[in-house]
Amino acid sequence: MARLVRLALPLFLLCVTAAHADDLDVDLSKPDVRLNVSFKGSELLLFGAKDIFGDLIVVVRGPNKDTSVRLKEKVFGIWASTDEVIFSDTPTFYAVAATQPVQDLLPEHVLQSERIGTTRLGLKALSKPPTASAKTIDDFNAGFIRNMVAKNLYAKNLGTIRQIGKQLFRTDLWFPSNVSVGEYIVETYLVLDGQIETKRTTYLRVHKVGIEAKIYDFAHNFAFIYGLLAIIIAMACGWSANAIFLKRGR
């Protein structure tokens, strides 16, 4: 099959003017991130080769979900949550690495449309207080990003991509212990003269494995039985503690 594709490729090149199919190859050191008992974060190596001169940008996005952000205000002397804004489809994880600062590589409108950088996620407010202005929403947006950065789920700084010779490059991707499970998207851009030459999309699965996955699935699929088992375990512990204590006491 691969041979067939390779034979057919020159034909395509004749027809398609902007074909850069072989300009860029990307792969990950592991196809997935496994959350097991000893999981304390995981480092993945993204490596690749490019045929032509140019800079690189790598963007990693976690699965999207709607997120509620609340404002804390002082009410009768205590800090209470008041206004709420729900943003739709926020990435649960976000990191960017590049060979140079991204604003030097691509014009702002391209960065915006490709959503490169935490300030350019283009978050939409699904629900907001009726009186909220655009400025208010921006403040909530910035607050959301600060929270995600504090949880290490959004990268604070631009990651570095190391170029080895003219063709090879590599970057380390770090996934902290509180990552969400799901399908992650890794996009690698090859950039030349303020334009995207090629874009490669790689997928990465983050999932629970082993006993962790079994407990999690059981707790969600058989919640009632799980609760009963939790009680039985607790009762057994309490009972045996008492038995040990009485033996030692006398």
Partner: protein
């Protein structure tokens, strides 16, 4: 050594959890309390999501109450009839409490309600205990305070006889107390002994000998109810977390009980009161000090 908790979805140092279990177990053994009011805030403090802290805390209290009630049971210090009446209210109250918990979570107010409940109840109980034990130390020769007989409480219908407690009171009274404490337990992730025991002594007029055993007896079932309901509605009981804390608590409680035997009753009560007020002040400060960020992430639809 880190361990990844499947329900809390974070990784925590295993020795920190064992240490917390030993510490809280020691104090609960020392003072003869469940320790929920220490464990739940501690869990939240180390970064466990509040819902998981409350759900798992309830599960832990099942264990410590079983362990405690067995000793009282052997001495016949459990008023079963009273326990069942309290339990009726407790199951209803805790069911409402878990429902309220889930609802407040969608409103984004659960953290505030948990913290406020802690400040109010620990503050009041702690201060009362402190004043009373100081007064008791000063005048240890005078007898215990006389039982109060509230007229309107005596006038309630459905009077029942409780033999072990030597009481003839309305069945509505224990049901009401159980209901209130059950609701509190579900929201705060505590056994509620610190509210239940004063209520039994001062509102019901039960003899002190059966108070602790009966309270522990009903806490087991109320907390078992909370565990199951939290598992179903919030998926917030983490058995891995629970087992690690229990292992520590089992050993801690042994040493605590031995150390407790060396101290005088009044000294113990003052120490406990100081600790209760301390936890209250810590949580109170968290509520009033300016937060590091004015924006916080909330939850949608109870998840």
């Amino acid at each position: 050594m880190q361990i990844y908790l499947p329900i809390a979805e974070i990784s925590v140092n295993i020795f920190l959890l064992l240490g917390m279990g030993i510490g809280v177990g020691f104090l609960s053994g020392l003072f003869g309390v469940g320790g929920g009011f220490l464990m739940t805030p501690l869990l939240i403090f180390i970064g466990i999501p509040p819902a998981v802290a409350v759900g798992t805390g309830a599960n832990l209290i099942v264990a410590s109450s079983i362990s405690g009630v067995l000793a009282h049971w052997k001495r016949g210090n459990v008023d079963l009839k009273m326990g069942f009446m309290l339990l009726i209210g407790g199951v209803l109250g805790s069911t409402l409490g878990v429902w309220l918990f889930t609802y407040l979570k969608t409103l984004g107010q659960i953290d505030l309600v948990i913290q406020l409940s802690y400040v109010v109840f620990l503050g009041v109980i702690g201060l009362l205990m402190l004043f009373e034990s100081i007064r008791a130390m000063r005048a240890s020769k005078t007898g215990p305070p006389p039982r109060k007989h509230h007229n309107f409480l005596q006038a309630l219908p459905f009077k029942m006889r409780f033999r072990s407690s030597k009481l003839y009171v309305s069945g509505l009274l224990p049901i009401g107390i159980g209901f209130f404490v059950g609701m509190l337990s579900a929201i705060m992730g505590v056994g509620g002994g610190f509210v239940m025991i004063p209520a039994m002594i001062y509102l019901l007029g039960m003899p002190t000998s059966v108070v602790v055993g009966t309270s522990l007896f009903q806490i087991i079932f109320v907390m078992a109810n909370v565990t199951v309901l939290q598992s179903i509605h919030n998926f917030s009981v983490d058995v891995v977390l629970s087992v690690l804390l229990l292992v520590g608590a089992v050993f801690g409680a042994q040493f605590g009980a031995k150390s407790g035997a060396k101290l005088k009753g009044e000294e113990l009560r003052i120490l406990l009161a100081v600790m209760v007020v301390g936890v209250c002040i810590k949580i109170g400060l968290d509520l009033t000090l300016t937060p590091s960020d004015f924006y916080v992430l909330g939850t949608i639809g109870g998840m």
